[in-house]
């Protein structure tokens, strides 16, 4: 995890000349360079709405608003600018979903879901059909919140949508898509 590595290197004084990066930064770079040929054409008529979670570990705790902007750049290129609805507050000021800090494994499930209500309300306020959660912990928590509170949104990984937009998403790679996207680009 981005933060555990960056903070660990610093805290334990481990020397490295490796660039420590988030894949969001590279997704954005590859789209800008024309290497990653995504398109939002598939959603022109469907007009399915998306919001995105800013993972604390990657945004606030590691690279700040710059990587949150990269995330938005990628999402908008993939789903269409007009189909992206931001949460508020967002980027470095975003609320943690409640999946972080070990919460998912801590056994305090009632408290975790109570904590997550703030995130649930934030997502519901956007009216989005999908919440993109590109960090595994966020994905698990936001998905669980929807199930527990019977919220109508779906929770998807970013890589799923990138591949969907390029028409290369396989049949078995659609676990988290709703019926509206189950057949798109197959």
């Amino acid at each position: 995890m981005t933060y555990a590595v960056r903070a660990g290197l610093q805290k334990f004084d481990i020397a490295t000349d490796l660039e420590i990066a988030s894949i969001y930064q590279y997704y954005a770079r590859w789209i800008r360079e024309g290497k990653l040929k995504v398109s939002s054409d598939w959603n022109k008529d469907l007009k399915i709405k998306f919001t995105a979670q800013d993972p604390c570990q990657i945004v606030r705790k590691s690279y700040g608003d710059a990587v949150a902007d990269d995330l938005r750049y990628v999402v908008k290129a993939v789903v269409g600018e007009e189909n992206f609805v931001d949460m508020y507050p967002n980027k470095s000021n975003n609320y943690c979903c409640g999946g972080g800090g070990g919460f998912l494994q801590s056994g305090y499930n009632d408290e975790r879901r109570e904590y997550g209500r703030l995130k649930l309300d934030q997502i519901l306020a956007t009216g989005a059909d999908y919440c993109i959660a590109a960090c595994h912990n966020c994905h698990a928590q936001i998905h669980d919140l929807a199930e527990h509170y019977e919220a109508p949104y779906h929770t998807v990984h970013l890589w799923t949508l990138i591949c969907l937009s390029m028409g290369i998403l396989g049949e078995n790679e659609r676990e988290y898509l709703g019926p509206d996207l189950a057949e798109v680009g197959l």
Binding site: A4, G8, C56, G107, W159
Partner: protein
């Protein structure tokens, strides 16, 4: 009427707070609290178990060490650092929470977090699910073979492990190979599409780090050193996190 004020009795030296200040850069600014409550008002953990970040810091400052180091609230704060972000004095409350977690006897910390850290120490994968390097390799090769055979256009898809000199060293949350391996495929396709020169490592491929959440410094250090060390051994240039 509110509750009666807490009588602190004789002067109580705040051993805990002093100790934390010593190890934080600039003492974590722990003395600079204006008691404004910006931290608590924007914290999703406020109110859980009757605690919030402002109260937690004030209790530490007042020397209520026993309460601070025993409240389960430290496991309900996700250390997301939003409180630092909104704090006019940049006070590092999450570091205080981390230190309080580390004061719990190791075996009394939440079982799930403890177990996930111990799993990561079992072998060089550093996987919170305990998957061995051999298991990981088996799953990756199995999934890869199926994609190559069943998906036209991806006959030469790659998912290398320990490829010497690869540019990117990629990690992966181990829930993906262990519980939902098909979720790895879109990532591989993207890397293939852009022509990235990448590799997983047989050591330190696990992307998650529950030892940090457990506030177990030695184990956190070991997992990071294993993973980064292996990326060095392979001569990679970029350590690429998927989360």
């Amino acid at each position: 009427m509110g509750e009666a004020a807490i009588d602190l009795g004789e002067e109580r030296p705040s051993v805990f707070m002093e100790k934390v200040k010593e190890i934080l850069p600039d003492g974590g600014n722990l003395d600079l609290c204006l008691t404004c409550g910006a931290c608590a008002s924007g914290c999703p953990a406020s109110g859980l178990h009757g605690m919030d970040p402002r109260k937690f810091l004030r209790m530490a400052a007042l020397g209520l060490d026993e309460e601070v180091t025993s409240t389960p609230w430290v496991w309900l704060c996700s250390m997301c650092q939003r409180c630092i972000y909104v704090c006019p004095m940049q006070i590092d409350i999450p570091a205080l929470v981390y230190q309080a977690r580390s004061m719990w006897p190791r075996e009394e910390r939440p079982k799930g977090i403890l177990g996930s850290c111990d799993m990561a120490l079992r072998n060089d994968s550093c996987s919170a699910m305990g998957a061995s390097p051999e298991d990981f390799q088996f799953v990756v090769e199995d999934v890869l073979e199926e994609v190559r055979e069943s998906q036209p256009g991806f006959e030469d898809l790659q998912a290398p492990i320990d490829k010497q000199g690869a540019h990117f060293f990629l990690n992966q949350n181990s829930r993906e190979p262990v519980t939902e391996p098909d979720e790895m495929i879109p990532l591989w396709k993207i890397l293939h599409h852009v022509g990235a020169d990448w590799t997983y490592g047989s050591k330190g491929w696990g992307g998650e780090n529950y030892c940090m959440f457990l506030a177990d410094d030695d184990s956190w250090k070991k997992t990071v050193a294993t993973s980064i060390g292996h990326a060095h051994e392979l001569g990679c240039k970029v350590y690429l996190n998927t989360e």
